[in-house]
Assembly symmetry: C2
Homo-oligomer: 444 residues x 2
Amino acid sequence: MAQRIAPLSGFPEYLPAARIVELRVIDTLRETFELHGFASIQTRSVEPLEQLSRKGEITKEVYAVRRLHADEGDAGTLGLHFDLTVPFARYVLENSGKLNFPFRRYQIQPAWRGERPQEGRYREFWQADIDIVGEDALAAHHDAEVVLVMLEALGRLHDQFGIPDALMRINNRKLIQGFYEGLGVADPLAVIQVVDKLDKIGPSAVGELLAGQGVAADVVTQILALASISSTSDSFIDEVRALGVTNDLLEIGLVELSALLAAVNAQFPGRAVVDLKIARGLDYYTGSVFEVELPQWRSLGTVSAGGRYDALASDGRHTYPGVGISFGVTRSLAPQLLAGNLSATRSTPSAVLVAVDDEESRASANAVAASLRTRGIPCEVSPNSSAYGKQIKYADRRGIPYVWFGGPQGQVKDIRTGSQADAQASEWTPPTEDLLPRVIVIEA
Amino acid sequence: MAQRIAPLSGFPEYLPAARIVELRVIDTLRETFELHGFASIQTRSVEPLEQLSRKGEITKEVYAVRRLHADEGDAGTLGLHFDLTVPFARYVLENSGKLNFPFRRYQIQPAWRGERPQEGRYREFWQADIDIVGEDALAAHHDAEVVLVMLEALGRLHDQFGIPDALMRINNRKLIQGFYEGLGVADPLAVIQVVDKLDKIGPSAVGELLAGQGVAADVVTQILALASISSTSDSFIDEVRALGVTNDLLEIGLVELSALLAAVNAQFPGRAVVDLKIARGLDYYTGSVFEVELPQWRSLGTVSAGGRYDALASDGRHTYPGVGISFGVTRSLAPQLLAGNLSATRSTPSAVLVAVDDEESRASANAVAASLRTRGIPCEVSPNSSAYGKQIKYADRRGIPYVWFGGPQGQVKDIRTGSQADAQASEWTPPTEDLLPRVIVIEA
């Protein structure tokens, strides 16, 4: 059938080599999460629209989903989830009697937001989330745990694939909220949501917005002074105290943040910065908050974020406090993959092309391939029995490094160097670095 | 936030142990496909609705997708794809200049159909497809190739996870169409779509439908006679010839089907049956067609199907003939997973729980876990420092087989047997069968 070709802005798709990179990154995240005892779950892609419409600003970005020919008796309209947290909270409530708490889960799935398409924003995007959720209580050391697991995962992406080093900015909602309460601010949450815009609109615009909310000028000054504090050591504690605000919640926040910084510095020195302007816009955070950027790819903005929530989900009998962090797989990778700056050494898993002399000997070529596969060597048999030169070209176009000639007792040629040697299909193995496609970073 | 708990019929979700099985199955499919040189692609979840509405019967099942607050300038309405073939055809056209043909791809993704919820039917379901697509031409041996790759994958699911043996029914559209043409049938495609209902409504109802289309009684008899032929050997050729119809396309079909049967029998004797009533309802098949069932789970019906299409996609300059086969991951697994008949030995990746004596020694427990992880051993540290009995219970509830006590030079206990021995975190490794959760089939 002839089709209209219709690329859709905001719905990235990759060519096979780029997809290999994405898969490799997802595999690495998954492996790291599983090593730390996080169990995979997948939630359905849709939630009742009413559940998705309760988050204020995001409502207008929700995609509604409806059967083209809906029946009268159909349930209410559905929507595609816009993150993995809302469906996870629902999953925990729905299955609370069958889960063991604290429950450690990871979830790597797409989410959808009908944002205005623009650089670095996607309408369909993959997220990789980890969360630890308790029943009624969850110990504070899990805050550091999810941060360390994510930093370990990002460290592997750096070491294995050349993705830039991560920098995590950390703060604590109790610290901010306690400070605001100590200042006599009436609605700390409203102030937090304004301060969250600091990076986008700058301190003077934030000050004006706060003044517009009726916050007194000296209080605005204090709020902006707190937000300007940033440190890689415990010196932030003295800087906060120097502002002269006293409040019990503030003290708890200082202790928690100091403990988190110490835990990160012990394992990943220099990877965390206390940054007291980090607030996260979402209203459900109640303690630690984190934001990760890749300084060498700073234009991406925040690639990973999360925090502690004391009551994301509640069913009347229990509340389910938790802490989690989400990594934006598409957000981080798509610009590099689509530009070709991040790619793979070949566009196929095949390490070997088994050449075919003539169609009568195809069975012999198939036998070579079957023999190689028993040892985990991805390979394919030439689709035709054209001249060897053409078959080599077939391999070359795909980046397949080896071509096999002459049946099980044959010869194998490294087409990059031209070197060719006798080989037995039951024994020969390519060098480890050629077994699977490798990720390569192409400097612009 | 308190939430209404809303299970949605047709959108299956699994508990962690069941999800481990699903992941393991998907990994096995992927590994098999990659060993055969199939490259992964992912397509976006949505297509322009007009592209999804061209398939006749399926139109009413499409889910339309629309931004809640769509702008005036927004592109036309989108729909969730209902299979992976339509998006793949579009992907091939969109990227034809950048792909190398024949292009071998696999695709493991969800699809959506707003079917009336019923036993074994899902509104959101995962499919695993492989296809080989050529530019203008594709050799016949690829028909056998995709069949053999899928049978190899299903054989691994059987050997590794106890999923029942597969049986593949094969036929050839040229054979049927040639036979009908030889009989003078005016609209062979219309007849094929009626014959496709044989299993559901039986031969007499099919005969009535054909008579209603104006097909003569003696022709109906011949059509039903052809459809009744089934064989595990080439004897089907003589049975067809005994019906006395001669046609060139029929002869080509007989040769192709015989070759496909021979190829399957050479590698997987007994796994294929020629069944001349298999037609596949879709209009784009033009040669080989396949349907797979799991006879021990026959109530599932067809779990995998596919065939040869000579012009699924065309851009005016080129056509892209191909052959492919799709495995219904959710369709095959969900009934067993949801019923608990197929599960895993534990609900977490963790092979080891590292116990914590008291909160002061948590760092020592963390060091044990870090050491185990360097050797690929999934583990977690106890969330609290309660009595050892409680920590062992934590492990037991999750099916974690080992609990570690006493720091890096400590002891490890197999909580299934109660045996406990000295162990060094830098050296100890669990038996291979305990490293990862194992899939288990629970007989009803």
